[in-house]
Symmetry: C2
Subunit: 201 residues, 2 copies
């Protein structure tokens, strides 16, 4: 990459990262392009060089967040050096650490925008649904492997159990954000791992 | 109530109800006072007769929604003519009906605003947290009664189990809104009632 295109790439990343920082707390509608420009020092004309519209900016933010944050957060679920049940535990432990680090602010950008935009934009909804489905599929695969190894009760359909665990975690993150403490997440993980996933069925 | 104060009361209710209709889909920040006025035909000056500010309007909307919608939705949980486990089932059946009626749009205003405002306003967060805690307490009481009657496994702490069920339902409502179908809610209820709450422990 030549010097100019490297600079262009870095300006674009700056805009995306500033957009994430603001949007994860304030949402899509409440994030102004001006605020993003002020935070980065990028002039307004340049913004429209990189993004056709605010919608395009929002969609690229979603993709950037998915490729760089969601995929990284999901890594423990795919770490085949660890047993499937332990992978689930590691994912959950990491989640609590992350939320504590953020002092129970922010939550997950994908979940926040899903809630905000699902009724507002079919373009956003379709992309966010794809990302949600990908996550559920990775949970389901981990569960399926755990069932094969008799680590996870076999009475559940792996896809349904993935949806169930996914929903309980999403709800718990929302409650933690509201209460500003991780107690609801700890309670959900305690019931999931110490009771629910130990069921004999 | 004299005719004038009855009219005033009715104008205020009109504003609150129009505010709910808009805010439940678009969120607090994205709801403009002008849109509420256009929907009701109330002049701008009158709005500020009833509400000091948009924040005051938002808080009164939360209280009105809680007193008239949340309390009504929670009724099945408190219907002592029915057994506690059946109360939980009735609550969940009613929830699915409601969400289907709304074609998986909207969700719950309290949950939506909790997500949107928890990092934005301590005034909103505190009121929304109070309402969330009230709901959890009513779930917990229903569970405690079910445990006494051996309808619900006793190994769980009733408060923790209430938090767990609450979180899984909230997450499922969010997923239904994103997918625009009630499958995630049905899956969560299936696992809760057909497996989880039948555990011998």
């Amino acid at each position: 990459m030549g010097r100019t295109s490297a600079t262009k790439e870095s300006t674009k990343l700056q805009l995306l990262e500033a957009g994430i920082d603001i949007m994860i707390e304030k949402g899509y509608n409440n994030t102004g392009i001006m605020e993003v420009l002020q935070k980065t020092g990028v002039p307004k004309g340049s913004f429209y060089y990189y993004f056709d519209s605010k919608e395009e900016f929002g969609l690229q933010i979603i993709n950037y967040f998915n490729d760089n944050i969601v995929v990284k957060k999901r890594k423990p679920l795919e770490d085949k050096t660890v047993s499937p049940l332990q992978r689930l535990r590691n994912y959950c432990d990491e989640l609590i650490r992350n939320i504590e680090q953020n002092e129970c602010r922010k939550g997950c950008l994908i979940d926040n925008l899903s809630q905000e935009m699902a009724d507002q934009s079919e373009v956003f909804r379709n992309r966010l649904k794809e990302i949600g489905d990908e996550s559920t599929a990775i949970f389901a695969e981990c569960i399926r492997e755990g069932q094969e190894l008799n680590e996870i009760p076999k009475c559940y359909d792996s896809q349904e159990l993935a949806e169930f665990i996914n929903c309980s975690i999403k709800g718990a993150i929302g409650r933690a954000k509201l209460l500003k403490n991780t107690e609801p997440i700890k309670v959900v993980f305690h019931i999931l791992f110490d009771f629910f996933l130990k069921t004999n069925c």
